[in-house]
């Protein structure tokens, strides 16, 4: 069963497309790296997959429930919740509004925290965790949601090397369990390690296996503003460097 099918999809806000010409699919067990500059449409794609935006043109079919692992900078660090409270939020989508999470939900939240190696920090306030640990708590929340498609929004931003390794292993495990995993990232090297890559810059620049990440595709993706692309050992460009003056546009979040 194909998890996501997009055909000539255009999505945007107020009738104005932010992202056009999307034709891609996600199969179970696939890890898809989503590359693009800030404001290039990554967050818009996430909102479209969640069903928050209706297509302006084309077709989008999402066959499974989606869960999102947002950037942790967006959540409030002074908020009075523990890691367990956050993981438990993943159970809300399966409960009617008058039902509170009960013992069964607590158990699955604790199991999810154990799966991201944070069982011993379940009672720790979310804001006191490191950036990488917070990211893992949010992955645990996605596990509790038990979604067929997991969307991670730049999970490696501001995360130390050790946590990044744990996160990368988690992404592999999510996919190995038959889920589709979409990872928005700035790290071209990392995207090369995924099964598929989707390059966005207001439109779909490329979609396919990692071999589509040629220098010209990367330049088109990042607006031709890559000033320094060190050559990798295989002669391929090793890293995309973002122009510093690109800003996130205000419409990415509500």
């Amino acid at each position: 069963m194909t998890l996501v099918t997009a055909r000539d999809l255009a999505v945007g806000y107020g009738g104005r497309p932010v992202l056009e010409g999307l034709t891609f699919s996600v199969e179970p067990g696939e890890r898809v790296g989503v590359l693009g500059p800030n404001g290039g449409g990554k967050s818009t794609l996430v909102r479209a997959l969640l069903g928050e935006l209706t297509p302006l043109a084309g077709r989008l079919e999402v066959a499974v429930r989606c869960s999102v692992v947002p950037q942790t900078e967006r959540s409030r660090l002074d908020y009075p919740v523990t890691a367990l409270d956050v993981a438990l939020m993943g159970s809300l989508s399966r409960l009617p509004w008058w039902r509170r999470p009960g013992r069964g939900e607590r158990r699955s939240a604790l199991e999810a925290l154990a799966a991201v190696n944070l069982a011993d920090l379940a009672a720790t306030p979310f804001g006191e965790l490191s950036g990488g640990q917070r990211q893992r708590v949010l992955v645990a929340r996605a596990l509790v949601q038990d979604a067929g498609l997991v969307l991670l929004d730049e999970p490696f931003t501001g995360v130390d090397a050790a946590s990044a390794e744990v996160l990368a292993a988690l992404i592999d495990r999510l996919a190995a369990g038959g889920r589709g995993v979409l990872v928005a990232t700035h790290d071209v090297d990392q995207a090369r390690g995924f099964d598929r890559v989707l390059c966005l810059n207001g439109r779909q620049v490329a979609f396919g296996g990692p071999e589509v990440l040629t220098r010209s595709v990367l330049e088109e993706t990042y607006g031709g503003a890559i000033v320094a692309v060190p050559e990798g050992a295989d002669g391929q460009p090793a890293r995309g460097i973002l122009p510093a003056h690109h800003h996130e546009h205000g419409h990415d979040h509500e």
Partner: protein
């Protein structure tokens, strides 16, 4: 020892003090718990605006001899409608519309209350009269407070999820708008129910001060709500003692105790952490 005991127990021998005690416990549990969400959702200004904006409703009820709660409810509804109506006009932002509507309504209330043929008792509307709470008032308070507490209990995790990450709430199956609307409706109802005891000017104290105290002392919402309610009840009882022995106004004494407790906790927190400027966790 027995002298201290007498001092402590003496006020509660009288029926009006027993009623006042029950009223501050009910309002304390509701205000303390709901206050946590007032703080976390950043709606303190809305709470204060509602309580001031309902003033003409209170005056009207008092002139017509209707229950204060009915006047308060009508007044709060009119204030909310006015704010929403003016806020949707072009070129007027939300803060401005709240400011305009609330000061107009409060002025209107004062005009009515200070008219020569108005009955005396305006202080009661501004500052409440917890010592005049009757058995029937208590019943009304309980009948309103208990369903509100049930809503808070039932929606706990959803309130938590929306406050934690509003933009991401929909992705975990919680719509933020209805949840935020419910918080405002709960605040309006709590203000209406507390106005008899604390009056239009002081009611916001029970919604903000205990929760602010609890925020300094806890880092989980469950414990924050418990600590906040305990503070609110303790402040209420402390205020009743103050009022009884110093002969001060009940509502004002309670507000003073609540804010005093907050300042004491703030200072203790700052001293314990060795900081000059306390940071709110």
């Amino acid at each position: 020892m027995s002298e201290a005991w007498n001092w402590l127990s003496e006020p509660w021998g009288q029926a009006f003090m027993q009623h006042a005690f029950t009223e501050v416990v009910l309002i304390g549990v509701l205000g303390g718990w709901l206050g946590c969400w007032v703080l976390l959702y950043g709606v303190s200004y809305s709470a204060e605006s509602l309580s001031h904006g309902m003033f003409p409703g209170l005056v009207g009820a008092s002139l017509l001899g209707l229950p204060l709660i009915a006047g308060g409810a009508v007044g709060a509804g009119a204030a909310a409608a006015g704010i929403a109506g003016l806020g949707s006009a072009r070129g007027i932002d939300r803060d401005t519309s709240v400011g305009v509507v609330v000061t107009s309504l409060f002025g209107l209330g004062a005009l009515l209350a200070l008219a020569p043929d108005s009955p005396p008792g305006i202080q009661e509307l501004l500052f409440g009269d917890v010592l005049a709470v009757s058995k029937r008032d208590l019943l009304v308070t309980a009948l309103i407070a208990i369903p509100l507490l049930a809503v808070l209990w039932t929606l706990h995790e959803r309130l938590l999820a929306v406050g934690f990450d509003r933009a991401g709430a929909r992705a975990i199956g919680v719509s933020p708008r209805p949840v935020e609307l419910i918080v405002l409706l709960l605040v309006a109802a709590a203000v209406v129910v507390s106005v008899q005891a604390l009056g239009s000017l002081l009611v916001v104290a029970v919604l903000v001060a205990p929760a602010a105290c609890a925020r300094l002392l806890t880092h989980r919402l469950g414990s924050m709500a418990v600590v906040s309610s305990v503070f609110a009840i303790a402040g209420g009882i402390g205020g009743l003692y103050l009022s009884y022995y110093a002969g001060t106004a009940g509502g004002a004494s309670i507000a003073l105790c609540l804010v005093g407790a907050y300042l004491a906790v703030l200072a203790a927190d700052a001293a314990l952490r060795g900081r000059a400027i306390p940071l709110i966790r």
